[in-house]
Structure formats: C-alpha cells, structure tokens
C-alpha cells in the first residue's frame, strides 16, 4: 500500500520536475505490483494498475506512443477487476481515463477508431458515474472535447450539439470553487463559436452570428486567450462565408494578432491563409501574396504538405491575375 501511495504522491507532486516525479511514481507502482498480485489483492492490484496507467498516460520521458500503449494495457488490466457490476464508480473512472488515453493516442496517430472508441467509453462511463460527482463532471468535459475533435473530421453538426450538451452538463454540476472552473466555463463559448460559424455556413446566419457574438463576448473576459483566438477565427470564417469581406478581414487580423502573441503556429498559418484569401477576393492582390507567403512558410514548418500545395495553387492564381494587371515596377512568374 505504501508503494502505491508513494506513487500517487509522486504523480501529484507539485514540487520538483514533473518528468522525474512521474518516473518515480512509475517505479513505485511497479514495486507495489510485486506485492499486490492479482490473485492475493485483486482490488489493490487493479487500483495500482489504474494509477500506473495514469502515470504512463502523463509520462513525459520515453516514446509517447509506447507510453500510451502501456497505459492502455494497464487500464485494461484494471478493468478486469473494476467491472461495472462490482465497482461501478471505479469502473466509470477507469473507463473515462482509458478514453482520455485513446483520445491522446488519436491525436498522435490521427486514427479515427481511437476517437470513436473513446466516445463510446465516455458515454458508457457516464451511465456508471455518480451524477454531479467530480468523475461525472470530468467525463462530461472530456466527452465534449472528444466530440469537438470528431466534428473536425466528421463536420457533423450533431457532434457539436452533443458536445455543447456535455459541456453544459459539466458546467451545471461544477462547483464555483473548482480549481479549473475557468477552463470548464470557456469550453461552452468555445464550442458555441464553432457551432455559430457552422450555422452561418449552413444558412442560419442570424442564429450563428448571435452565437459568435456571445462567445466572443464571454471569451474576451476570460484569461484563456487561445480559446478567444479560436472564437475570433470562427467569426472571421463566418463573415468570409457571408461575403462580408471587411469584417472577415478585421477578424482575421484580430485572430492573427492573438495567435502571434500566443506563438501558436497552426493558428497563425490559418489566419494568414484566411487573410490572404480575403485580400485577394477584395482585389488587394499584392497584399494577399504577402499573407499567403507567410501561411505557406508556416504550413511548411508544420509539415502540412496538403496545405502547402493548396496555398501554392492559390498563390499562383493570384500571381496570374496580378501579372495581367499593368504594373511597371514588378515582374511576376509565368502563368
């Protein structure tokens, strides 16, 4: 028990290097498992497996994918004892943490199956979690994140709606004193900005713009600048869709400024791209090329070859149009 508790202490330790603490925690859990055998102490064994899995999930050292594989295996071990019937709450927590690990893996491998499994696990876990409990709140929040990620691929509005419901459920249950309350509070306007932009594109622009305005207002008051930048980006996209070029341009510039401040390369890349597009549409071709070149450079740095070739095509089209315009001081490539 002492080794397991020592492991927990290292896992949650605030002082010292987080990477070192996690290594010590893993060592302590592995030592504990030598004593807590499955046969002799099944519940302690399962609890230690769960804790070991958490530590591998969060591990900083080592190969990230291998750590996640080890974490998944350990959660699966724990699940053999923490069944829904025997330990409903522990089962729910273990399933929820397993889901988080799968989400993390899907972020590395881009595998849609992991995200699908995670969503399934989280939805199941919620049926076992005690309503309004910390596990229930955390699971709802993670489910909201997972559904938001799935929407990025599926573009299914129902995913956004389900994510919004999950965030709302988490917010309704969370205590105002919760240490992470702002993160939870920001999740709702963040998803609403994505939904707002989506609704605008689907033709429900009035409702969509209202959601975007509301989410921007809320996020402008929060300390989460990244969430605010993302909401501004969604607003820019919505205005671009509405062919409201002036507002789209202003919002892209707002977005770009904030992403730059946050040193967020993917955000900067997409903002430059949006700004370049809008400037080109408005006929500000030379200005557009400057922005597109910046977008290309960042996408190349991020190894987004698909985006690089997309930008290249756009850049060439703008160059072609520009070349046809009389401009004695500049020469452009062949079209």
């Amino acid at each position: 028990m002492t080794q397991n508790n020592l492991g927990l202490a290292y896992s949650n330790r605030i002082r010292g290097e987080r990477a070192d603490n996690l290594e010590r925690a893993i060592a302590a859990y592995e030592q504990a498992l030598e004593v807590y055998t499955r046969e002799a102490f099944p519940e302690d064994w399962a609890a230690t497996q769960h804790n070991l899995a958490d530590a591998y999930r969060d591990r900083i050292q080592g190969e990230p994918l291998a750590n996640l594989e080890l974490a998944i295996a350990a959660y699966q071990n724990a699940a053999e004892i923490f069944t829904r019937d025997a330990f409903p709450e522990k089962w729910a927590r273990n399933q929820s943490h397993l889901a988080q690990t799968l989400i993390k893996r899907s972020g590395l491998t881009n595998a849609p199956e992991d995200l699908e499994s995670a969503i399934q696990l989280l939805q199941n876990a919620l049926t076992g979690a005690t309503p309004q409990s910390p596990d229930f709140i955390a699971t709802q929040y993670v489910l909201g994140n997972a559904l938001t990620q799935r929407h990025e691929r599926s573009k299914d509005l129902d995913d956004l709606r389900a994510a919004e419901r999950a965030y709302r459920a988490a917010l309704e249950a969370i205590s105002p004193e919760h240490y992470d309350i702002e993160q939870y509070r920001n999740a709702l306007p963040a998803i609403q900005s994505v939904m707002g932009s989506r609704l605008v594109r689907d033709g429900q622009w009035q409702q969509g713009l209202q959601l975007l305005r509301d989410s921007n207002r809320q996020l402008s008051q929060s300390t989460d600048k990244l969430a605010h930048a993302n909401a501004l980006y969604q607003t820019a996209k919505a205005h671009e869709h509405l062919t409201d070029w002036d507002n789209a341009r202003t919002y892209y510039r707002d977005t770009l400024r904030l992403y730059k401040h946050l040193k967020d390369d993917p955000g900067m890349a997409k903002s430059y791209e949006g700004l370049g597009n809008v400037l080109a549409t408005q006929g500000n071709l030379a200005r557009s090329l400057v922005e597109l070149a910046q977008a290309r450079e960042l996408y190349a740095k991020l190894a987004r070859t698909d985006k690089v070739s997309e930008i290249d095509k756009l850049y060439q089209s703008v160059e072609c149009v520009l070349a046809k315009q009389p401009h004695p001081d500049l020469t452009y490539g062949q079209c």
């Binding site: 501004l232 062919t243 202003t250 707002d254 400024r257």
Partner: protein
C-alpha cells in the same frame, strides 16, 4: 440674420423650403437619379456614403424635385424606425400617403396608428403632404402588429398603382442606424418586396450593410450612388446658401460678393469650410457652435479670433454632447494621441491598454465617435482605419 441657419440633419419634408434653399452641389448625383426616372420601368436605387455626409438631405432633395416634376407618381419617404421591418415601415409610409383610401386607413387604424385625417385634425403641422417626408413620429409608431406585412404592402402597392399608374416610389432612409445583424435580416426578409412593383430608394453606410449589399446584391440595385465629401468651392457655396436662408433682407448668394458670407469674412468663411472637411453634418454642428460662441462674445463679425474661439470650443462641446463613458473616452483619447487607429497596425499592447483583445471590440466605440464627429473612418479597401477629427487648436492659416 433672423436665426442660426445650421441644423443637425434635415427633419423631413416639413422643411423642404429650408432644404431647397440650403441644399448645395451633388448635381451629377442628382442627374443620375433624375435620368433613371425617365424610364417607366420601376427601379431600385441605393444611396450610400459615410455617416454625416448628407444622404438624408440628398434623398429628400431628390424626392422633392421629383415630386414637383412627376405629379403622376406617388412619392413616400420614411426614416426606418427601430423595431420595424421594412415591409411594415413602407406600408405605413404608403398608407399615410393615401388618405382617401379606406383600406389603407383601416390598415393604419388596425395598427393603432392615427390615420391621416385624424392627424390633420389634431396637428397644425399637417398639410396636404401630411406625413410625406416626415420622420416617422411617435404617433406613427404601430401599437398593433400586422400578421402579414409583406402581403399587406403588396395589396397597398396595387391600390396605389391604380391611383398613380406611373409608379409608386418608396424611399427608406436611415437603414444603417440599426444593428447591422438586424439590417441584414431585414434586407433578407425584404428581398421579395424590393424586387416587387414599387420603386425603392434606400440609404446606407459604405462599411455596414451597404458593403454587403454592394458585394452580394449587385443585381438588386439599378443605381448605386456614393456620396463623398463636398469640395471646398461647393462647401463655400453651401455656407453662402445657409446664411442667406435666414437673412431677412440684403439677400446675396453670389460667392464672389463678400457680403454673401456675412457675418463671416471671406477669409474666415474659407477657413470654416476647410475645417468642416466637406462633411455637411460636421459643417452644421461646427456652424452652430461658432455662431453661438460669437453670440456669447457679443461679436457681430466672425473675425479670425472669433472663429478660433468658436473652433476651440468645438472639441469639448462635441465630446460633451457625445456623453462618452470611461471606455469610449479612453479610446477617443488614444485616437487623438495616435492620430489614427487601424486593424492592420494596432498592437496587442495597445488593445490591452484599452481593455480589449481585438480591434473588432473597438469598432462600435469608434463608430460612436464617428457619429459624434470625434472621429472619421478612412475608406480603404485593405483595412479598417479611423482617424481623429483634427479640430484646429493652433495658429490660424488662411488657405486661399
């Protein structure tokens, strides 16, 4: 002079006599409108330009002239009130122009709006024109809502066309004084009406909804007229006309005659016009302030010193009038300090010092400053930029 001739904005067709005497310039733009009216086929006209550029005056002047010359056409004018859709606003304006049409009067009655006859009996303002040209007043605000305003308007246009077979013209002013999202919805809902059988004349702002209309609805308007700042010569003539409109005797509208600008001297008149930047509303506001200041100083001539004193008092007066809150004042002060603020060049530190994170949060404040003549938007196709109105505090320069 019998009174201060300057006004904030034209109040409607009750004032057409004054407008006729003071409206100056825009000959080309008016010709374009009049040329379009040579045709019998109905048309849609959009008049756009920045706040305070004289869109309402232009619209009213065009309507007054057209009405005089085309008596077989019916002309209606309304300033779009808040909370009304375009169809209902147009319906009320049109119904009020048809005092002998029972259906129209019944419709007004159903909406709880005093009918033309009732207004005529109760107000001394009423004339044969009744509400033509008047900004929709409180007594015109509907108490009850029509269930199908679009269908009702269609019916009313039918009835009006029987009486005025050469056409019905509905002019809707102040479209952009509403929330842009609402205007967008209004325009969206009004597509059918605008493409219907009446002529429409709308006014708007180049960076608000009008910009969208220009880009997305190019086919909707047969004529789009942009009103820009008046040149100095026209502004000078406008000053002459304004001053003459309140002279009891010694009328003079010849700008080469120095008496035409009294109590200004030609020198101070030119300087006044220069400061007004060819913006009719700023011209009117500054004119009122300068003449009031002259009265306070008991000066019967606008000498350079009197003009300077008047202009010096303008900035605080405009600020006082705008009733800025703390945040708005902070933005005004930063704008004054920097000369201009744009979405392209503003830094995150500037924004944070102003208590925001995005330029888009500043835009409504900057627009309010523009409305108060404390800022003006520089029209650019590649950036949103506002500059401070530079009221002179320094030395007097004659720019002849």
């Amino acid at each position: 002079m019998s009174a201060i001739p300057f006004t904030e904005s034209p109040t409607g067709f009750d004032d057409t006599t004054q407008l006729d005497r003071t409206f100056t310039g825009r000959e080309n733009e008016l010709s374009q409108v009049f040329n379009l009216f040579q045709s019998l086929e109905r048309r849609r006209i959009l008049i756009y330009g920045r706040i305070g550029i004289g869109k309402s005056a232009f619209l009213l002047e065009a309507l007054a002239t057209l009405r005089r010359n085309l008596p077989r056409k019916l002309f209606t004018y309304t300033a779009l009130p808040a909370e009304l859709d375009l169809a209902t606003a147009a319906l009320i304006a049109l119904a009020q122009e048809l005092p002998d049409d029972d259906w129209a009067q019944n419709t007004l009655h159903q909406m709880g709006i005093p009918t033309a006859k009732a207004i005529k009996e109760r107000t001394t303002e009423a004339s044969a024109n009744v509400v033509f040209g008047a900004k929709m007043s409180e007594k015109s605000a509907p108490q009850g809502k029509l269930q199908y305003p679009t269908a009702a308007l269609d019916t009313l246009i039918d009835r009006a066309l029987k009486k005025y077979p050469e056409g019905v013209v509905i002019a809707i002013d102040d479209l952009d004084k509403q929330n842009p999202a609402r205007v967008r919805q209004l325009m969206h809902d009004a597509q059918g009406i605008l493409k219907g059988r009446a002529w429409f004349m709308l006014t708007g702002h180049p960076t608000g909804i009008t910009a969208d209309l220009l880009t997305t609805e190019r086919g909707l308007f047969d004529l789009q007229i942009e009103l820009k700042e008046l040149d100095q010569k026209t502004t000078y003539q406008m000053l002459v006309n304004y001053l003459d409109s309140v002279r009891i005797k010694d009328h003079c509208t010849d700008p080469s005659d120095p008496r035409s600008v009294l109590p200004f001297s030609p020198e101070t008149a030119r300087h006044f016009c220069q400061v007004s930047q060819g913006k009719p509303r700023l011209f009117n506001r500054l004119g009122t302030i300068v003449l009031n200041r002259a009265a306070e100083l008991q000066a019967d001539k606008i000498t350079p010193e009197v003009l300077q004193a008047g202009l010096k008092s303008a900035a605080p007066k405009l600020q006082e009038r705008a009733a800025l809150n703390f945040q708005e004042e902070r933005v005004r002060s930063r704008l004054q300090e920097r000369g201009s603020l744009s979405d392209e060049t503003i830094e995150i530190e500037d924004l944070e010092q102003l208590g925001v994170r995005s330029f888009s949060e500043l835009v409504p404040i900057l627009e309010k400053l523009e409305e108060a003549d404390l800022a003006h938007q520089i029209l650019r196709s590649d950036a949103q930029e506002f500059a401070a109105i530079d009221l002179p505090f320094g030395e007097f320069i004659d720019t002849e």
